[in-house]
Each structure stands twice: as C-alpha cells, then as structure tokens.
C-alpha cells in the first residue's frame, strides 16, 4: 500500500520518497523544494476540507489534496 501526502493526518509528518507525475505540477514541486528525501509535516486542513497546509524546509506551503496524492511518503 503506497502512502501519499494526502493520507497524512494534520500533525503527522513523513519523508518524501517520490514525486509522481509530469509537467507543470512536478516542476512546481521541485521549485518549492518538494523533492526526494525532504521532511514534510502536515499542519492543517482548510476550513472547507481542502486544500491542506504543510511545513517543508522551514516554511509553509499549501496544496490541494488532489495534488498531494502525487507525493509518495516513506
């Protein structure tokens, strides 16, 4: 069973194992520092249930659950 960032509950953290997908989304993740081996911590879910907020490399990032599915966690 592959665990992705989407499966992490607020407060949980993990290490990025792989970033799936191609094109704009993958490049965007690379630019924002979401790459293999990075520690990522889920902070909270938006009031309407999506997107989520995570902490990575010491700063806050928000992304949709749909896109979080592309980030495989160890």
């Amino acid at each position: 069973m592959i665990r992705t960032l989407k499966d992490l509950a607020p407060g949980a953290s993990g290490k990025v194992m792989m970033v799936k997908g191609k094109g704009a989304i993958k490049r965007r993740f690379m630019d924002m520092g979401v790459i293999k081996g990075t520690e990522i911590n889920v902070e909270k879910v938006a009031p309407l249930g999506d997107p989520i907020e995570v902490k990575i490399k010491g700063y806050s990032l928000t992304l949709r659950k749909e896109d979080a599915q592309n980030i495989v966690i160890e």
Binding site: D31, P47, L61
Partner: protein, 678 residues
C-alpha cells in the same frame, strides 16, 4: 570619475524584493509593462556615491526554469540584456528554499551579489549564519541586510559597484552534478564551442539546458545551426536517460538541492527545536478550521465598511459637491464674465466637469479599496484567503486566488480587475477578468434603488438583493462556460507559499496605493475626458446645429437602438439612450433618465414612477435593472480590461459578450414573465 551601471533585482516572492527596491529607488521609479505582456516592469534610477545606477525589478520567482511568464522574463532579461550585476535577494529566515534560485542565477554566468535579507528575523528564530563561509561556498559576495529598516543598503551598493568593475569577484561556484552528468556537460560544451549562437551565453549553462531539453534553447540552437550537433546531443542525452532512474530535470533539481544542503550544513546553524513563531500562532486562529471563515467574513465586511461607509462616502459627497457646485459655479461665473459662447460654457461645465467629476467622485473609494488590498497583501493575509476559498472557487474552475477580485468587484470593477494580477495562469486570469464586471459594483446601486423604490415599494431590499445574487449566478455560469470552452487549461496546480505574517511598512503601502491610484487617474481620466465631450455633443446637437434633447443626435441614436430592446420590454428611445450613455458610468443611467424625461437631476421616486408608468411596469423595470446589472461595463472598466489584458481583442470581446449576456437574460425575464402573466 562617475560611471553608470545597470543592476537587476531578482528573488523569491515574499523575500522582501519590493521593500528593497523601494529602499533603493524610493518613489522615483516608473512602472510599466514588460514588452508585449502584462507583467509589471519597474525601473528606477538612483545614485550611490559617484555611480549612477539603474535598478530593474525582475518578477518574483522561485526558479528560472522558463515555464511561467515571470520566469521567462527574469531569465531572458538576465541572459539577453546582460545587466552589470544581478542582485539576488535571499530571505535569511527561509534560506534553504531561497538558495535554489540563487544557484540558478549563479549558473547563468553573470556576476551575482546576494543581499541576505531579514537577518533580524532569522536571528530571532535562532538561526546562526556564517556569512563569510556561505559566501565562500557559493562563490559570490553576500551582504547581510534588513531591507525594511534600511540596514546594510549602503554596504550592499558598495559591493555591487565593486563587482561591476571586477566581475571575477562574483563568478560563483558550479554545482557538482555527479560524474555521469558532468561528463555529459563537458561533452556538450565541446560541441557547443563551434556554435556561434551559443557563444553569446555561458556555455556550461547552455549545456545544462540542452540536457534538460529546454525548448527555448533547443529552438535557438536548431535554428542557427546547420550541422547536426544539437541532434546528436539530443540523441545522446536520450541514451543517457535510459541509464538513469529519473528524468534529467528531476536529477538536476535533486543535485542542486544536494549542493545547497551541503552548503547550508557547513555555514548555517539551525535551532535545535523550531518553536512556534508569532506568525504560526496567529495562523492557528486566522485559518482555524472553525474560526477561519467567520474571521474572513468579518475582515471583508470591515474592508467594505472602511471603503464605502467610513471614509469613502464622506469624501464622495464632498467631491460631488466640489465638482457639481463649487467648480461648476466658478467655471460658469468665469466663462460668463469672459463672454464665452453658450456652447463652450456648456461643453466645459456640463461635458467636461460633469463627466470627469462624475468618475473622480469614486477616487476616494478606490484609494481606500487599494489601501485595504495593499494592507491585506503585504500582511500575508491575502494568501490565506486563497487557502480558505480555494475549494469554493475550484467549483467554477478557478483558483482560490481569484476570490478576492470577485469580492472587490462589489465595490468597483476597475481596481478589482487590476487585482487579478495575483493569478499566475494567463487563462485563469483572463476568465477572472471577463466575469468580474458581473459583480454588481456600487455605481449600479443608484439605478436599483430608484427603480426598486418606484416600482416595488416595500420590497426594495428584496429586489436589490436579488439583483446582486443574479450577478453572482451569471458570473458562475459564464465562468463555467469559459473554463469549458475558451480558457481550457490544465490549470496551474494550486501549490502556493503561505508567507509569514508581517507588519506592512508605511512607505511600501503608500507607494503601492499611489502607483495604482495614479494609473486609475491617468487612464480612466483620459478616456472619460474624451467620452464626456462626445456625450455632451450628441445630447446637445443634431446635424443642423444645436438642438433640443428630443431632436438631438442622441435621441436619434436612441431611436435607432430602441427596437433592439423591444423584446426586452423597454423598446423606447429614452431607455435606449440612457443605456448607451450609461456606458460612461452606470449611475448616469438614472440621472440621464431624469433629464430625458424632464424631471431634473434629482427626481423623487414617486414622481419617477408616475412619469415612467407609461413605459415601464414591474416586469419591464426588473428586466431593465437586470440589463443594467449585466450589460457592457463602463468606460473605466473597459479601460482596466484593456490595460490588464493588453489586448483590444479581449476588450472588444468583453464589451460584446456582456451585452449579449445581458440581452439574453433580460429577454428571458421579460418573455417568461409575460408568459406566466406577471
């Protein structure tokens, strides 16, 4: 001895780039657009000791891979225009991610000086940065600064001037991409040496882009290159890819981050435990699962109260009195004493002062609105609004960032359309611009108020509210249609930084507000000035000379267009003419109707109802209001659309399609209403 140099300012969004630019140039910069695109270009001249410096503010980007417009602009400027020095502003409190751009900037092969900003914040968070070591490892000079307090600016400029005359001081150390890639890079450099087109650039940089299969670079090389060297390169890089797990882009990014991590581990001491910052604590409340939405609603209400009740309207009345009475009075007196012809007097007083004044009354509202937006943006709250509203906005295929301009549209569509600048995806931005005028702006309220009071006594509030709702519903439907047809895009993924909350600086806020208000004044002012004169002319003349209103060109035009409105229930020339003139400003519809029907400027609802009873009933009045809500935006907004889309095609499209939408909706209201016997 004095010299001139050009510096380019590059950095991540939220790294304090604008603050530094303002600290360097003050308000002495000018804002335009980059050639051919609507991305803002800021440029300013200033002097440091005996050096004249031109500073160019590049768009804030996270990287230089040319996939977004901003990144392309930043990259092309540095590569093609060769500024003497690239000043890279780096947020010391977020150093790891910020250095990703720095590494790419260094790779371009131009001299880079790093301005390490927010040293105070980094220190207070427990970061210990060995600036000398960091500088040695990166191979470029680093100057610690606190841009908001203007600390270190002079030292930064000393360094910049020094580097500009001795570029070898800031060459930068290359990233080690690992054996396989390095071999490939060396190989590519060799084959590129014979290419005259590539020799203009840093060869290692071009070699890397070829490996990444960067479209622009490939095109550049292919075009001017008769031998098949680039094909060879492409084939070779393909062959190499098979032996690697990931694609090259990924690998290159990975290596860059490794490079950065290793540098950071040698030069930056991070705090053992990262406690909650004040910003984190504030965020716990402001974007709280349960409190987030109510707080957002309260803030929005606060903004509206501030813009339209507290400050705006007080000034609005004053300016109205100033133009409508004081200035008109003076002008009339002055012109009379000069024995000016009646027509000239009328042109100046009724046409120009009336027309331009009618729009300038909104200036205080617009300044207040800009002030509020600028505070929300600079404080970091705007990013949270996108976070909170993204789910809702996604339902119409837009990102959460498009929500703010929609809300602002209830105030005035012109600044709201400028507010779409925060949207990254060009298609998203166009869609957001084109549906914005359906948000019922405050200028349409006088029309509703008068008609509702005249035809729906006792039910005014309900009628007015229903119109606001109608606007939102139409915006959503049209937005959906647009996203399914014209502006299909996979959409930029919603991956956005939530910057720490910061207290906006007074200077920064004032500069932003002034820049935007100035834009409104100049562009809207010139458009309206011209339009006012035309309107004055067509209402006062016919082809034989001065004429009564009913015999004027305006009336004739009204008669020509009246049949167009017959299926909508108000096919008379008065309605047609007032709608046409309403394009100048929506509230003009009411004042013009009063004038056209001979009621004087300020007609009471009762008298208005009586006079209009012959041509309007409840159903046609409602259809008319719906039409006013939806049809072609006023010239101020048309001007904003032109400026923000930078395209006459989209501007004309917006004028035409909104007219069509308004016609269809009003027609449906009237026809269906008549059928069911309303």
């Amino acid at each position: 001895m004095s010299k001139n140099i050009t510096i380019a300012l590059a950095g991540n969004p939220n790294s304090g780039k604008t603050t530094l630019f303002n600290a360097l140039t003050g308000a002495r910069h000018h804002v335009g657009n980059w050639a051919g695109v609507t991305v803002e270009k800021k440029e300013g001249r200033f002097k440091h000791k005996d050096t004249e410096i031109i500073g160019v503010d590049l768009p804030g980007t996270y990287s230089l891979s040319p996939y977004s417009l901003e990144e392309k602009i930043a990259r092309n400027y540095i590569v093609e225009e060769s500024p003497d020095v690239v000043v890279n502003i780096v947020d010391a409190s977020n150093i790891e991610r910020n250095l990703y751009l720095s590494v790419q900037l260094i790779e371009l092969g131009k001299p880079v000086v790093i301005a390490l900003n927010m040293m105070d914040v980094a220190k207070s968070r427990g970061y210990k940065i060995d600036v000398n070591k960091l500088s040695k490892l990166l191979g470029v000079p680093i100057v610690p600064i606190v841009a908001s307090k203007k600390q270190g600016i002079s030292e930064l400029l000393d360094e910049v001037v020094k580097v500009s005359s001795n570029k070898s001081l800031a060459k930068g150390n290359p990233v080690d991409y690992g054996k396989k890639l390095e071999n490939k890079i060396t190989e590519n450099i060799e084959s590129l040496k014979s290419n005259p087109k590539a020799s203009k650039y840093d060869l290692r940089w071009v070699a890397l882009r070829v490996i990444e299969e960067d479209e622009e670079i490939m095109e550049l090389l292919n075009k001017n290159h008769t031998s098949s060297a680039s094909d060879e390169i492409a084939i070779a890089s393909e062959a190499l890819e098979i032996s690697l797990e990931d694609d090259f882009e990924c690998l290159i990014a990975d290596r860059r981050y490794n490079h950065i991590t290793s540098i950071i581990s040698k030069s930056v001491k991070k705090p053992a435990v990262q406690g909650l910052t004040a910003s984190d604590k504030a965020d716990k409340i402001l974007t709280n699962r349960w409190l987030g939405l109510p707080i957002f609603a309260l803030i929005m209400m606060g903004v509206f109260y501030f813009t339209f009740d507290l400050v705006g309207n007080v000034f609005l009345d004053k300016i109205d009195v100033f133009f409508g009475e004081t200035l008109s009075g003076w002008a009339t007196d002055a012109l009379t004493s000069m024995n000016a012809a009646a027509w000239l007097q009328s042109l100046i007083v009724d046409g120009i002062i009336g027309g331009v004044g009618g729009v300038l009354v909104f200036l205080p509202n617009i300044i207040c609105l800009f002030l509020a937006i600028s505070l929300l943006e600079d404080s970091g709250y705007m990013a949270r609004v996108a976070f909170i509203m993204d789910r809702l906005m996604r339902k119409i295929g837009l990102s959460g960032k498009a929500f703010i301009p929609m809300i602002l549209g209830f105030g005035c569509n012109a600044p709201a359309i400028m507010g779409t600048r925060t949207l990254e995806d060009e298609n998203d931005r166009l869609a957001a611009i084109l549906i914005n005028p359906f948000m019922s702006c405050s200028a349409r309220l006088p029309v509703y108020t008068l008609f509702a009071a005249a035809f729906f006594p006792g039910k005014e509030k309900f009628v007015v509210f229903s119109l606001y709702l109608l606007g939102v519903v139409v915006a959503i439907i049209v937005g959906l249609i647009f996203k399914k047809t014209l502006f299909k895009s996979d959409g930029m993924p919603f991956v956005m930084e939530l910057p720490p909350y910061r207290i906006p600086t007074l200077k920064g806020t004032l500069i932003t507000v002034w820049e935007r208000a100035k834009g409104f004044l100049i562009k809207a002012g010139t458009l309206i000035f011209g339009a006012s004169m035309v309107l004055w002319f067509i209402l006062g003349f016919n082809f034989t000379g001065p004429a009564d209103l009913t015999e004027s060109i305006g009336a004739s035009i009204g008669r020509v267009f009246a049949p167009l409105f017959a299926p909508l229930g108000f096919g008379n020339w008065q309605a047609a003419l007032s709608l046409i003139t309403g394009i100048l400003a929506k509230e003009v519809v009411v004042s013009n109707m009063s004038i056209i029907y001979g009621l004087g400027e300020e007609a009471a609802a009762g008298a208005f109802a009586q006079t209009l009873a012959g041509t309007f009933n409840q159903l046609t009045a409602y259809a008319f209001m719906a039409f006013v809500l939806l049809y072609t935006p006023c010239v101020g907004v048309i001007g904003a659309i032109k400026r923000e889309t930078n395209s006459w095609k989209w501007t004309i499209f917006s004028v035409v399609y909104q007219f069509a939408v308004a016609w269809i909706v009003a027609m449906l209201i009237y026809q269906i209403g008549s059928l069911i016997g309303l």
